[in-house]
Symmetry: C2
Subunit: 123 residues, 2 copies
Amino acid sequence: MTPDITLGNHIIIDYYNCQTTALSNPEEIEQIIRKAAELMQATVITGKFHHFSPLGVSGVLVISESHITIHTWPEHHYCAIDIFYCGALKIEEGLNYLKEALQSNNSSQKEFKRGLIEEKTLK
Amino acid sequence: MTPDITLGNHIIIDYYNCQTTALSNPEEIEQIIRKAAELMQATVITGKFHHFSPLGVSGVLVISESHITIHTWPEHHYCAIDIFYCGALKIEEGLNYLKEALQSNNSSQKEFKRGLIEEKTLK
């Protein structure tokens, strides 16, 4: 039997009932996402955070381990976060902080393996 | 009964057996992703494409409709693409082009709804 390996992990989280006013503030969202990346011990390469008129922020951090993205809908007290990573990150530390920083009392999280590679092709 | 709406759609695609040499070239990957965005009729806000040493590219496009990301593993002829969008995009046109441009004969696609909001909260 040839075991398989996966190249990446992908976590997608929907944060509902966010009580923070940060959802409409690109500077605060950038601070939150960069802090989460730091807590995960991710290596940040570059980031872009954009403020939509009249509402909402889209942000991405490219990290050595892949990416973190956020999209906010302040009018619905909702934001969507994706964390795509390879290698070992302290994900739980980042996720605990995000839930607290976003002041969400209701979230939905899924995790997927990305890039299923047959181990024999690695030799 | 109160019907719900969703704020976004999220498509994640794993492209295997990519025969293109573009996977190790950040300029070519950027061209491919921007062309896919154009075909989908997405509005590009900004983009970042990064070349890893010795191999691989990570790229993100922030679009008005949310984001498109790509991560490549040329050594495995594999790349991972995410398309997060709200509103109406011509997704199929973009996906058809991506499969052709990446020269992949084996791909795996999933789609999720993001941000389930009760319609009553929209009033």
